[in-house]
Each structure stands twice: as structure tokens, then as C-alpha cells.
């Protein structure tokens, strides 16, 4: 498997879906001014108004714009998980973490609020913070650290006479972006974000260790047809282009064996190569089919 994840999102339908949903729902809620639907706290919504449906949806949309951006960035970073698990398993695991974290957080919150006479934990986190934090554990577990680097600060932080004071050194690895984004996300929602983040991370640990069952067995029904139809058709496209490459005299000399395992995920690069190799025989096909997205872009390109 290649070290670098392929650029773009065309090979990551679930990640794309998660990113779009994370941005789209808050946007729609904002323009129709129904943002408050996703704002959840024990008092008054649960204790007074008994709006328990909020427990099911509080993860769907972040109320705060910063959280929306952070979550979208984190979903993008987590795309490696989709690569490891495959789209179908990935979306099933996401759904499972959604269920587990929702149950865990809301039951903990209700328990705390019912047993302790005064409200010490009122607010709920907004957005998919719990899901993301649970997946964070999976990410750490399955993604090897590729490299690390030190940032040396040229001057010792304190005065140079101090004997024990060494040169400051910052050790970072290739995952520090995701780490810091998750850290910011938790910090951004205050104490609630940190507590719920920790609880959800534990939830992820339990799931991965098998304490909370279902990671390997639970699969979403129907979703295969709904979401992945396009992926399948694109897959066949990849196969077709592969056939063309093998027939193409320019590619005959190259070792196809080393390329084949890449194809499942690296469809982009292969397709790019195909296009350039076919460039000198454009007239073979009729006007190529232009999907709506391409046409959209063509409007700006031409």
C-alpha cells in the first residue's frame, strides 16, 4: 500500500459524505434559523420541556461555526480509516460509534443530573465530536506513524545562566495535525467538550477491544446499494482503463504487476495516466460523456 493517501476525495465516498453533511446541515439550519434544534442541554430542554428527541440529533450538526470547520478538517484527516477499513465497514463503524457514544453520553448525563441534586453537567457537546473522538482511537490504532521531526528553538527559553535549562525541543510526528485539531475541538467546547471527548475516546477503546461488540459484525443494511453504486461503476471504469493501458503499446514495457494492487485506491492517478496516454488519439470516441460535475467545472474553465 502506498504511503501517501491519494489526493482528493473521489476514492473516499464515506469521508466525502461525512464532510458534506457536517457542513451542509449547519448551513441549512442557519438559513432557515432552526439552529436551536441542535442545541442540547439538560436544563431546560430535557428537564423542563422533555424534548428527548434532542438526544438523538445533537451530534448531527455543530452549532458553532468553528466546530463545523474543525470537524470537517478532522473528517478529512480520518480518511485513512476509510482506506484501512473499506467504505462499507467504515460507515458501519461510524454508525455504531454514533449509537454507542449517544447512549453513553446521554445516559451518563441523565444519571448525573438525576442523582446529584444540583446541576453540574448541563450542556451537551455539539456536532460529531463524540464520534470523531471515538474514531480517533481507531485511527491511532491502525495508522502507523510514518515519521517524526523535532523543532528546535534556537534560544533556551529562560536565561542562559540557568544551568538546568536546555535548548527547547518540540517533538512532532506526522499525526500532529490530527492530534492538534482534536485537541482544539475539545478545547473549543470547554469542559463539556473535554469530558465528553474523553468518554467517547474510551468508548472507541472499548469498541476496538471488543468490550462493546459490533465492530466486526455490525453492518448497516441497504447502505451498500444507496451509497456505493457510483463507486462500483467507477471501479469498472478503472478496470476498463487498466485494460486500455495494457493494450497501449507505450505501457507494454512497464511492469503492470507493481501497479495492480494500487488500483483499488489509486484510481485517480491511474486515470490521470490514462488520459495523458490516450491524448494523441482523441478522435476514437465520440463527444465524451460529461457528467454534471465536470460540466459545472467546465463553465469556469473555458
Amino acid at each position: 500500500m502506498s504511503v501517501d493517501a491519494p489526493a482528493g476525495l473521489s476514492a473516499f465516498p464515506v469521508t466525502k459524505f461525512a464532510m458534506v453533511i457536517t457542513g451542509l446541515i449547519p448551513l441549512l439550519a442557519a438559513i432557515s434559523s432552526y439552529k436551536y434544534v441542535f442545541y442540547t442541554s439538560y436544563s431546560p430542554f430535557l428537564s423542563e420541556y422533555h424534548q428527548y428527541y434532542k438526544l438523538l440529533i445533537f451530534q448531527l450538526a455543530a452549532v458553532n461555526e468553528t466546530d463545523v470547520i474543525l470537524l470537517i478538517l478532522i473528517w478529512y484527516q480520518l480518511r485513512n480509516l476509510e482506506r484501512v477499513m473499506g467504505s462499507f465497514k467504515y460507515i458501519s463503524v461510524i454508525a455504531l460509534t454514533y449509537i454507542y457514544t449517544t447512549i453513553l453520553i446521554s445516559s451518563l448525563n441523565l444519571l448525573v443530573n438525576w442523582t446529584i441534586p444540583w446541576t453540574i453537567w448541563n450542556r451537551y457537546p455539539t456536532g460529531t465530536l463524540p464520534v470523531v473522538l471515538a474514531l480517533f482511537h481507531f485511527y491511532k490504532e491502525y495508522t502507523p506513524q510514518v515519521y517524526e521531526f523535532n523543532v528546535l528553538l534556537t534560544q533556551p527559553l529562560f536565561s542562559s545562566e540557568d544551568k538546568g535549562n536546555k535548548q527547547m525541543e518540540l517533538k512532532l510526528n506526522d499525526q500532529f495535525l490530527l492530534n492538534s485539531l482534536c485537541f482544539l475541538l475539545c478545547l473549543n467546547q470547554g469542559l463539556v467538550g473535554i469530558i465528553c471527548g474523553f468518554v467517547s475516546w474510551l468508548c472507541g477503546v472499548f469498541m476496538e477491544k471488543g468490550l462493546l461488540p459490533g465492530v466486526d459484525t455490525f453492518r448497516l443494511p441497504f447502505i451498500n446499494k444507496l451509497l456505493f453504486n457510483r463507486v462500483n461503476s467507477r471501479g469498472s471504469h478503472v478496470v476498463r482503463s487498466l485494460v486500455q493501458i495494457s493494450e497501449d503499446p507505450h505501457h507494454m514495457g512497464q511492469d503492470n504487476g507493481s501497479r495492480t494492487p494500487l488500483l483499488a485506491n489509486d484510481s485517480n492517478t491511474i486515470l490521470g495516466g490514462t488520459n495523458s496516454s490516450l491524448g494523441d488519439e482523441e478522435n476514437t470516441g465520440d463527444e465524451p460523456i460529461r457528467p454534471l460535475g465536470v460540466q459545472f467545472l467546465d463553465t469556469f474553465r473555458r
Binding site: S32, V37, Y49
Partner: protein, 761 residues
């Protein structure tokens, strides 16, 4: 003009001159400074008088309140100069000897308007009544009562020359005014009324308006309102507008308002008139006076009234005095006894800050004024109305928001349809059959909607997000997709410019070489794009200004303009019908028959039916809504007949286009007037072929694929088995393979050899 540092500085300077205005209070000359100082002194001294006044005192030296109705009855030419000999300044009784109002009016107020509340205060009235109320207003009399003389202090007059530093002294009466009488009477019997109510909860004590603070210490019982009252006759030939401050008595549901101008400083008279009409205990009257006086004091001090006066205020006061009647307005709100204070508080909170509280907002009744009386002391006009109502502003905003979102969906649908259409016609030949003017009309409407939405978004901050999104999406639709498409249409039709319609109908069949040579210079995409964008923005600005200014025209002209505009802008398929005729689309059956792979591109319908019908529906739905739904958000009048007419007109256009699709585009033209189009597939003569130096082999060279083209030659029998559809002969007598030339014509309608424009296939 070249843009360098100097021109940039010049532009900045010019913009500075345009947008700079005198800061602060707007004083720009010594004269104006003296004017505003005089006004401040005047108001301060009146405020001092007001402070000393108790409930039992008459008004003394306060502008507009120096005379009572009885004074003018006794002596019609009396001058309002304080003190008036023999006038009782130490008592205050609710009758015409002391008040501006005649006894009949006072009587009416107590029996017909402020007759709901008794001393028990049993009714409940909503504390927040922000809304716009609509109703009908009736004229009771405009000649029965004497007109009170209200002089304007002369220091309000503008300077007559630049050297003048000191404003004139003294007062002037209406007989001296140049354009008196314009709106100083109400002549219609029945009219439309709209009252817009907003609360003044916070005021700023600086001119800049920053740092607004709550000022009202009796917020539970009294509210200060800003009204905008408009009444006009059905034809809107006579329109009266005022923008006064009002006091709302929450316990009794009474609203009192008096217009303010340089001849009537009504702010100081509100406490006295709040208890007009009686029906209350003597003690209550005094409490009302003291409480409202405290409210006025709160407002005066909170807003720093004297120091925040600007030249704009001064001009407004003077304009109001000259051009309008003064009005005293007495309104009685309908009680909301189905709610109590706690419920109402919750409802107000939910409206103000929605959180999904368990309250039923859909059952909230409209704010309604059950009776109202308007009396003008200086014009002697009396008007009355019953039942003006309107929903709470927040609910109204909610409705408008959902309408805007629906409109957004329409835009999205239009963008989708246009993209489908653009994909359908992706070659110059197919785009060539589309009418430029049809899409220009559609584009103009979408572009103006974008600007109107943009303007609206700055006017309505509550709806900024949906409005700006609508503006953005319609702008994307108009300026990117539609203009892009228009550029392609224009480019594909560029070689037709300057060619007569008859020639076009003929499709360049004749050998009119001279004409073609003159048109050979076809501008490229970029220059066409630049000129079309320029045209687009220019027409957009002109049209938007026209629409905006038309809203202030008299009703008759406005409606004619509106109807004509709608009819014209909804004739967008007419140019396409003409275009079809010019391009001569074949009947559908014939197209099907000829649907061989060779000419499969030749006879597509230029527009997708999905696009035609979808666009028509998307563009008609808003018009149908506005003209048939009587409580539409634009307060547009109802006119179903026009909608039926418009729908029929659109249906007619659609049916013509459909018949063109079925029967051929020229079915309604007489046969002999339809000339033949240019035919690319024809036999070649030997003489012709000789020019191509291929006469010996009976072939020509295809300049595209550089191989030989076998051709059908009239004189040579042995070539007669060659399919005439396998090669094409251009009007400039060049020969190509059909495949080669068709592919080329997918990109450009120019001969690959000599660049002569080619007639589209």
C-alpha cells in the same frame, strides 16, 4: 484610461467627495450653526416649562400648544404669542377651552375609542406589539372644525444668501408659506391605512448612535413606540405619511401619538392628553400624567435629546411643518384575554430568541387596533377607523423566510435545468439554433432579482442570510451560467450579423460570396464575452433602478408599468419561435426518419422540453402566488384575471413551440415563402474538381485527415455508386469527409481551409 498611481489618487479623491458628508450634527455653515443653537435653546426652555408643569397646569410657552380650540372659535385671527391676554394658565380641564380638540372629538374619544378600560384594569394587553397593521380608514369630516393657527418659528427657514449668518426672528403663519395647501386636507372618503409599530426600548446618547441603553424605568406599564402611519386613497393620488413617537399604556391598551414638527412640539403635550376622554378617576388621571411625564423625562435624558439634535432633524421638523398637517392619534388595542402574563412572557421570549420552548406560536392572534381616531388640529380633519390588524413582526419574518427559501429552491431548479440544457447543446451547430434574445430576457430577470435581493439583504438584517444566499444563487445563475451560455450563442451566431432575415431563412443557399467575405472577421470569445458582460451589467443597473423607482410611482402608472413589464418579460419564448422559423426545424416525424448516424446531429430540437416546461413553471409560480394569494408577503393586490391571461399567453407560446416540434418550424408560413437551406451533400462537377487537382482520380483531398475523398461527379458515370452523404461540399467549394467536417463543425463554424463562415447543419 491607464490605471497608475495618479489616477488611483484621483479616483479616491472623487469617491471621497462623493461619500463624505459633514460629520457630527451635520452643520456646515455659520448660519446652520446658529439655527441649531436656536433650536436647542428653544427646546431647552420649553423643557424647563414642561418640568415645572403639573397635572393641573395649562401649557404656557410651548410651540403649537399656545392656543386652544376655544381661542380660535372666539377670535379666528388670533396670534399665538405667549402670553395671551385673559387666558387661564393655571387650570387644566379636558374641554375645548383648554385643549386643542373640540368638545365633540373629546366626547368621541371617550365613547368610541378609549371606551374599553374601566378602573379595574381587568383586560390583558400584550406588552410587545411590534407589527404592521393594515386596515381601512374613513374620513369623518374635513370642513366641520375650525383650523387652529400654528405658526412656524422663522429661524427654521433656510438661508437666502451666503452672507447671511443669523436666522430671522419671529413666527410665520401659513398664509405666508409658498406651497401651503398641498397635503393640508384629506379629500377622499375611504382609504387604506397602514400603521407600523416599533418599540423604542433602547436609545443612544450620542449622535453616532452607538452604545444604546435601556432608558425606561417603568417598562412594566408604559412603552415608548415609534409609529409610521400611512393613509392613502385606492389610487394613491393622495398619500399622507407621518412618523411620530407614541406612548403605549399596557394596562389599558391605549396608544397616544402626536405628530412632531417645527410648529408643534408635541413631545411635551403627551402626558396631558394621555388621560383625554376621562372615564377614569381623578386620581388615576394624575397618576397617568406623572408616570408618562417620567417616561418622557427618561427618554429626554436617556437619549440626551438636546445634544443629539442634528441638521437632519431640523430639516425634517421644518419639512413636516410646511408640507403636512399635524395629527393627534388615539388608538385602542384589542385585548388578548386568552393569555396571562407568564404565558405572554414565554411567547415573547420564544419570538425574540427561539429555543424551541413549548409554546404554540401558530395560535398567536394578530395585533389589532379595534378603534382609532385621528384628528388634525391645524387642518380640522377628523378620520376614524376600526379593526386594523397585523401579525407580530417576528412571525411575519418567519413567513417571509420560508418564502425566500422556497424561492431559493426555484433558483436551484433553474440552475439544474440550465445545466441540462447546456449539456444538451454542446456544439456550435446546436447552440446556433437557440435564440439569443430569449435567454437575454431570462438573464435580465435573474440578474435584477440578484440585485433586488442584495438591496433587500441590507434593508432587512433579520433575513440577511437567506436573502444574501438567494442573491448569490441568482447571481451565479445569471452572470455565470446564463451569460456563459449567451456568449456561446452569440459566438455561434456571429457570422449571421448583418445578414438579412431572408438570407437567413434561405440558409445561405446562394453563392453570395461577397457577403460572406465581409463577414469573415468574427470576433473571438474573449471580446464577445467582455462586451456581453458589459451589456449585462449595464442593462441590469438600468432595469433595477427602473424597478426601484417604479415602486414610488402613483398606482395607476405603476400598475400599467408592472403589467407591461410582466407581459413582455414573460414572452421569452417568442424570440425562440422566430429563431425556429429562421433555422427551419424539420417536423418530428421527418427527423425520426432521417435519424441515421450520418446526420444525427442535424435535427435535434434546440431546447429540451424539460427545460422549456421547467423554466416556464419556475418563472410563473411566483407571479401566480403574488397575484392570486390575497395575503401575500408583498401586500400585492389580487388579480386572478391577469394570471389567467398570462398563463394563456404562456400556454400559447408553448403550444406554438410544440406545434413547431411536431409539424416543423415553418408550418404556418406559406410554402412558396420558404426557401431551401444550404445542402452540404451534393454532386460535384468535373470543372469544380479540377480546381482541387484531383480530377484524374475522381477524388478530392480532405484537408482534415489528409486522405482522399471519393466524390460523386455528374459527368463521370463510374462515380455514381458513391454515397453523396459520405462527403460534404462547403459553400466555399471545399470538400471534406462527412465525419471529418462534422467533427470540426462541433467546434467552429468556419471552413478549415479558407475560414469562410459555414452555415450550420
Amino acid at each position: 484610461m491607464e490605471i497608475n498611481g495618479n489616477t488611483l489618487i484621483l479616483i479616491v479623491l472623487i469617491l471621497y467627495l462623493f461619500f463624505s458628508s459633514p460629520g457630527g450634527n451635520g452643520v456646515s455653515s455659520k448660519y446652520e450653526y446658529n439655527q441649531i443653537e436656536k433650536l436647542k435653546d428653544h427646546l431647552s426652555s420649553e423643557y424647563q416649562t414642561f418640568q415645572k408643569m403639573s397635572f393641573r397646569d395649562n401649557f404656557r410657552n410651548i410651540t403649537g400648544l399656545k392656543l386652544s380650540y376655544q381661542d380660535i372659535i372666539t377670535n379666528p385671527s388670533i396670534n399665538a404669542t405667549y402670553p395671551i391676554a385673559g387666558k387661564d394658565y393655571d387650570n387644566w380641564i379636558h374641554n375645548q377651552t383648554y385643549e386643542l380638540l373640540p368638545d365633540e372629538i373629546i366626547q368621541k374619544i371617550s365613547t368610541k375609542v378609549w371606551n374599553v378600560s374601566d378602573n379595574n384594569l381587568t383586560n390583558f394587553y400584550p406588552p410587545n406589539i411590534t407589527s404592521t397593521l393594515m386596515g381601512q380608514i374613513n374620513l369623518v369630516s374635513n370642513n366641520e372644525y375650525s383650523q387652529l393657527r400654528m405658526p412656524v418659528p422663522r429661524y427654521f427657514e433656510p438661508a437666502t444668501d451666503f452672507a447671511q449668518d443669523d436666522p430671522p426672528e419671529g413666527d410665520s403663519y401659513f398664509t405666508d408659506w409658498p406651497n401651503y395647501g398641498e397635503l393640508h386636507n384629506v379629500t377622499f372618503q375611504k382609504g387604506e391605512l397602514s400603521i407600523q409599530i416599533t418599540h423604542i426600548n433602547k436609545v443612544s446618547d450620542t449622535i453616532s448612535g452607538y452604545g444604546k441603553k435601556f432608558f425606561n424605568s417603568q417598562d412594566e406599564n408604559w412603552k415608548l413606540l415609534r409609529l409610521r402611519i400611512e393613509f392613502f386613497d385606492k389610487l394613491e393620488s393622495e398619500k399622507h405619511t407621518m412618523n411620530p413617537i407614541a406612548i403605549y399604556d399596557i394596562r389599558r391598551g391605549r396608544i397616544l401619538s402626536m405628530s412632531q414638527s417645527s410648529k408643534f412640539h408635541s413631545l411635551f403635550s403627551l402626558p396631558h392628553y394621555m388621560s383625554v376622554g376621562g372615564g377614569l378617576d381623578k386620581g388615576d388621571d394624575e397618576t397617568i400624567f406623572n408616570e408618562t411625564k417620567a417616561l418622557i423625562n427618561d427618554y429626554w435624558n436617556g437619549s440626551n435629546y438636546i445634544d443629539t439634535l442634528t441638521m437632519g432633524d431640523l430639516d425634517t421638523l421644518y419639512d413636516n411643518a410646511l408640507s403636512k398637517c399635524e395629527y393627534t392619534v388615539f388608538l385602542q388595542l384589542a385585548p388578548w384575554n386568552q393569555f396571562d402574563k407568564d404565558q405572554m412572557k414565554k411567547i415573547d421570549e420564544e419570538l425574540n430568541w427561539p429555543l424551541g420552548r413549548p409554546v404554540n406560536l401558530t395560535k398567536l392572534p394578530p395585533v389589532s387596533i379595534q378603534s382609532g381616531l385621528l384628528y388634525s388640529p391645524d387642518c380640522g380633519v377628523e378620520l376614524q377607523f376600526n379593526d386594523a390588524s397585523g401579525v407580530r413582526y417576528e412571525l411575519k419574518v418567519k413567513t417571509i423566510r420560508s418564502h425566500i427559501l422556497l424561492g431559493l429552491l426555484l433558483f436551484a431548479g433553474q440552475i439544474y435545468l440550465l445545466l441540462c440544457q447546456m449539456q444538451h447543446t454542446n456544439t456550435p451547430s446546436s447552440i446556433n439554433k437557440i435564440s439569443f434574445y430569449s435567454f437575454s430576457m431570462i438573464n435580465l430577470v435573474d440578474g435584477s432579482l440578484a440585485t433586488l435581493y442584495l438591496i433587500a439583504s441590507s434593508v432587512l438584517p433579520e433575513l440577511y442570510l437567506p436573502l444574501i444566499l438567494s442573491s448569490f444563487s441568482s447571481f451565479i445563475l445569471a452572470s455565470i451560467f446564463e451569460t456563459r451560455y449567451l456568449i456561446s450563442i452569440y459566438t455561434s451566431q456571429a457570422n449571421e450579423r448583418g445578414v438579412s432575415i431572408i438570407t437567413l431563412l434561405r440558409g445561405n443557399a446562394e453563392n453570395n460570396d461577397e457577403e460572406r467575405v465581409t463577414n469573415a472577421d468574427i470576433p473571438d470569445d474573449a471580446s464577445i464575452g467582455a462586451s456581453l458582460y458589459g451589456r449585462f451589467f449595464f442593462s441590469l443597473i438600468i432595469f433595477t433602478f427602473l424597478i426601484l423607482s417604479s415602486t414610488s410611482w402613483p398606482r395607476k402608472i405603476r400598475m400599467t408599468f408592472e403589467y407591461i413589464c410582466i407581459i413582455i418579460l414573460n414572452s421569452y419564448w417568442v424570440p425562440q419561435i422566430f429563431r425556429n422559423v429562421i433555422k427551419g426545424l424539420a417536423p418530428r416525424r421527418e427527423r425520426r426518419r432521417n435519424n441515421s448516424p450520418i446526420n444525427r446531429r442535424q435535427h435535434q430540437t434546440p431546447l429540451l422540453w424539460k427545460f422549456i416546461i421547467g423554466t416556464t413553471i419556475i418563472r410563473t409560480v411566483p407571479i401566480v402566488y403574488v397575484f392570486t394569494y390575497s395575503s401575500n408577503i408583498f401586500r400585492h393586490h389580487r388579480d386572478p384575471r391577469f394570471v389567467v391571461f398570462l398563463s394563456l399567453w404562456l400556454l400559447f407560446q408553448l403550444s406554438i413551440m410544440y406545434s413547431q416540434d411536431i409539424l416543423g418550424a415553418r408550418w404556418f408560413l406559406p410554402q412558396h415563402s420558404i426557401p431551401e437551406g444550404y445542402i452540404y451533400f451534393k454532386p460535384v462537377s468535373l470543372a469544380h474538381l479540377a480546381k482541387h487537382e484531383g480530377a484524374s482520380k475522381h477524388t478530392a483531398d480532405c484537408a482534415i485527415c489528409m486522405s482522399e475523398v471519393p466524390v460523386y461527379i455528374e459527368e463521370a458515370e463510374e462515380t455514381h455508386n458513391i454515397d453523396q452523404h459520405s462527403y460534404m461540399v462547403t459553400p466555399c467549394d471545399h470538400i471534406f469527409h462527412t465525419d471529418c467536417l462534422e467533427n470540426w463543425m462541433g467546434y467552429k463554424l468556419q471552413c478549415p481551409v479558407c475560414r469562410t463562415p459555414l452555415p450550420p447543419i
